[in-house]
Symmetry: D2
Subunit: 324 residues, 4 copies
Amino acid sequence: MLKKIGVLTSGGDAPGMNNAIAGVVKSAHAKGIEVFGIKDGYKGLINGWFTKLDSDFTLDIISKGGTVLGSARLPEFKEESVRQKAVDQLQKHGIEALVVIGGDGSYMGAQRLTEMGINCVGLPGTIDNDIVSSDYTIGFDTALNTVIESVDKIRDTMTSHNRAAVVEVMGNRCGDLVTYAAIGTQAEVFSPSESKLTEEEICIQVKKLADINHRSVIILISEKQFDAKALAKKIQEVSGYDTRATILGHTQRGGRPTGMDRYLAFTAAMFAVDKLIAGEGGLYIGIENNQLVARDIESTLNMPKPDRTQIINKIRILNSKQIK
Amino acid sequence: MLKKIGVLTSGGDAPGMNNAIAGVVKSAHAKGIEVFGIKDGYKGLINGWFTKLDSDFTLDIISKGGTVLGSARLPEFKEESVRQKAVDQLQKHGIEALVVIGGDGSYMGAQRLTEMGINCVGLPGTIDNDIVSSDYTIGFDTALNTVIESVDKIRDTMTSHNRAAVVEVMGNRCGDLVTYAAIGTQAEVFSPSESKLTEEEICIQVKKLADINHRSVIILISEKQFDAKALAKKIQEVSGYDTRATILGHTQRGGRPTGMDRYLAFTAAMFAVDKLIAGEGGLYIGIENNQLVARDIESTLNMPKPDRTQIINKIRILNSKQIK
Amino acid sequence: MLKKIGVLTSGGDAPGMNNAIAGVVKSAHAKGIEVFGIKDGYKGLINGWFTKLDSDFTLDIISKGGTVLGSARLPEFKEESVRQKAVDQLQKHGIEALVVIGGDGSYMGAQRLTEMGINCVGLPGTIDNDIVSSDYTIGFDTALNTVIESVDKIRDTMTSHNRAAVVEVMGNRCGDLVTYAAIGTQAEVFSPSESKLTEEEICIQVKKLADINHRSVIILISEKQFDAKALAKKIQEVSGYDTRATILGHTQRGGRPTGMDRYLAFTAAMFAVDKLIAGEGGLYIGIENNQLVARDIESTLNMPKPDRTQIINKIRILNSKQIK
Amino acid sequence: MLKKIGVLTSGGDAPGMNNAIAGVVKSAHAKGIEVFGIKDGYKGLINGWFTKLDSDFTLDIISKGGTVLGSARLPEFKEESVRQKAVDQLQKHGIEALVVIGGDGSYMGAQRLTEMGINCVGLPGTIDNDIVSSDYTIGFDTALNTVIESVDKIRDTMTSHNRAAVVEVMGNRCGDLVTYAAIGTQAEVFSPSESKLTEEEICIQVKKLADINHRSVIILISEKQFDAKALAKKIQEVSGYDTRATILGHTQRGGRPTGMDRYLAFTAAMFAVDKLIAGEGGLYIGIENNQLVARDIESTLNMPKPDRTQIINKIRILNSKQIK
């Protein structure tokens, strides 16, 4: 019978992580299990930065962005001797199992700890939606809304001035933020990570819009593809639109979590605690086909990435044809 | 080969309806099909209130709540003679098929029109999430976020003053707005349509929280269950908390659509136009298991409502146990 | 030389109160003065619910609505014997002076404490904008934006459906929330506290709009004038508009403080601490003509209320004339 | 007796411009005066891009950012021959007077047109708050809230990760956006246009915070002072904080106008129309000491800029001292 569990957040923070923490705390308390918050991810784990969390604590955090537990990088966690320190700290405090909230960078640590006797269950916390074993990740919905609100604002001023705007959005390996935001804002041109356009392709498309006197143009690009300012300059030369660049940057990582992020985070956390109580570990929780599922961490690593080509192409065709 | 289609919104409006309209317009235009907007639902249909929509129009509407086409009730549409007028108007204008955006109140009209030779495809537009053939309806996500933002604000002041608040939320036949919002805000007590509490049960729960000096209490109720003010008064008498009532009302029906509502509305509209182009009608589009599906309208009417009892009970158990 | 001061919030909470607390803490710390937060207003004062506040604390609270110190009513504070307890508690803890954040209900307590040897300076914290010695009060700007966002949402759905809406807004003695929101939302009819309309006048105005087929109508009323539902019913009978009622209630009292509320709260708090350091008390801070001023509490009580009649009448004239 | 007036927006767009347009339309209509909207500023003026505006139009625009009339640059308007075309167009359409909404770049045009017989009154529309004859400009309040919301989001993730962030804010000649946002967000370091810090000063301050293990640091800078990315890199080297750069860019120029921007824009527009009706021109409207005033354009150009040094220095002192 489980008496004490820990919870930590690892990797890039995401809105909804606090709701996952709250879900862990409340689910565990309902079964009489104590919960310890571990500060700054695996770093706090090896240093023993543990704090007992009470139920009231959850009310303070559920509308806050980021993670109140903090997060930090610890590449050394790949080494067994380092992980052993973590196991020692957990045993010293009587903590028998762990919920790990984070991206796939935290998978292996959770898997290895499980192998060393500490059952771990992971929750998909990342704004990038780049965890293939979950249709949506905790934080994606909030980040998407932040991007859409920002692009709507940029659209206001671009339309006022008959301009074009390059907007750089997060999502290095997964372009879902770009694709979903393009659909939500009717961005005329978009270049998600998995279906990049060349500078030339972008310029040609914007030029065509200039030729039919389209009032404003939004070009959404995933990070690490282009230098946004240089691209804007090139577009201006080719199309004639006065063109501006905005890099949304870390605004996308914060903010009050949306309803769906809160719901996913909280219910996935409940599910994770159930698994730990059942004595299971080495699992990653995902939402697939609108249902919570738990998969072996190993198996999730080999899942194929969903193919967005079809929807991306369909939207691009719509954007290329206009009737006045 | 289809040349002209119509689009109308029917029943209670919902954020995202404008994105569905935009999706219809852009999808049809990409295939060279003209789109006519029909003002005020079936009422405009029989009166011939039709306007040709251009592609630029879509940019103006995608960040707006409500429906720019307007909606109206027309109970007489049940009569065949009235529907014949609609068919006549459509034929006069050469409109061969129709996208109907609305709740299940608009199902039968779409089915009957299809039987009379006008192919209709329906899209699930309603904030209530009460269409059983779709996991989520267009407008639910925006309304949920409106409820959560409102409850967060109410929580601020209730916590400042050590008070309790009764908050009445929409959702007469389906309590999802209450249930999801309860999870998102950690409402201590909640009474969704499909799992109502009695006044006595609510008072007892609040009293227990008073006994452990819980700082603030949120009680979420679906509309048409209680008189919110009278309930607040009763709770105050039993629990000792100074208790206030708020009726969120029609604020829940408006507002800028969220990313997910925009995405669902736009992609479902694309799917609907594809069906019309394929010569199909009498269908309702839903999102099931994270995929768009088209079902016969007849069959959707007999689908069983998903059972929320399990999640509701689990959350209630969490709420009833607290560790300090 | 001052060494320890206290800060409390009193009366109805308002967004921005936390920024005022932060301003007190940081200003005092910059001069080497310790700050004690007093829980639940005057109630905590007599019970000695004091907590030393550190600088880091301020970062956690500045984007939160409500007051983290809590507020409570204590009518008995009018009695000298009760106030003597407060003075005793303060002296016991070595707290020499006090910042009181709240509405005019907290004036007299601050004045009496000053007379008993504890210098007090008040800050105008209330959403109602009903403190005549300040052009704006802390919380008004946030509440105004909450009202406007809510009315914008209600407008969306009313326009979709060709309806009228009665919206009840806070502000019992001062109708500024209604008047400013009416200007910001172009509410067709508005009835602020200081220039009430009769039910008949409202119905006549709405009827005129119905006669020219105006699409939607917003009627803003200050609280405690009408039964909103009954008024809606009456309007529906007279005008023919399907009419709905919403009571915004306590949503208006919470929420993240706006930029202006943060700025006013923080700078006014700095000013208050300066006054305490200068050995002054019995003062109330206000913003007049865009400048912070400190007035004797006694004198503020006799100031005439600013007359809004002119602007209200001008707006009503605009609303009554329309050109198509 | 005036029969027709025009309204245009000029220079950089700002939220609230649409409310000013609405105010012009409704005020003029109430006096039986027709209003013509002029597309794209002075450019539309010389090209005769005029559209008659009706009262209903105003309801569609008041919650929208940007300017529905559009804006454009026209440096040639300095030449009398170009302005003569504008006068000709206005006379051809019988438009006798003009409201010009824009920054001080539009002052001289309005003054010269007045001299050529077309009475013009200007309204201060710019997010920068850089018009010295007005305490606040239309658009500043909305932009300030956009900045604060963005910085709050950035703070969430910086605190989660123990990082520093450089945030570049608009306001080339006037640093009010930086200064007010610094007060609202407790940015630890800020460098507004009129009180710039050197790179070295910034690094030293951040280093001091690193030395006391301050969890996160926000550095707000006005545009055109630094290369934000290079500055972030330097700060990282000196302080040890992992440091990120965000350029808020054109998100600051759009968005739904706040209550105060709506109020200021609408009431200032009413005042402007009153002046035109009184036969006056060559005026600029401002809000000074919380009152609307009209000044000769010439005189506003020579007004001294308000000195923000005192408040900037006071806040910097607070930031440099912390008690734990």
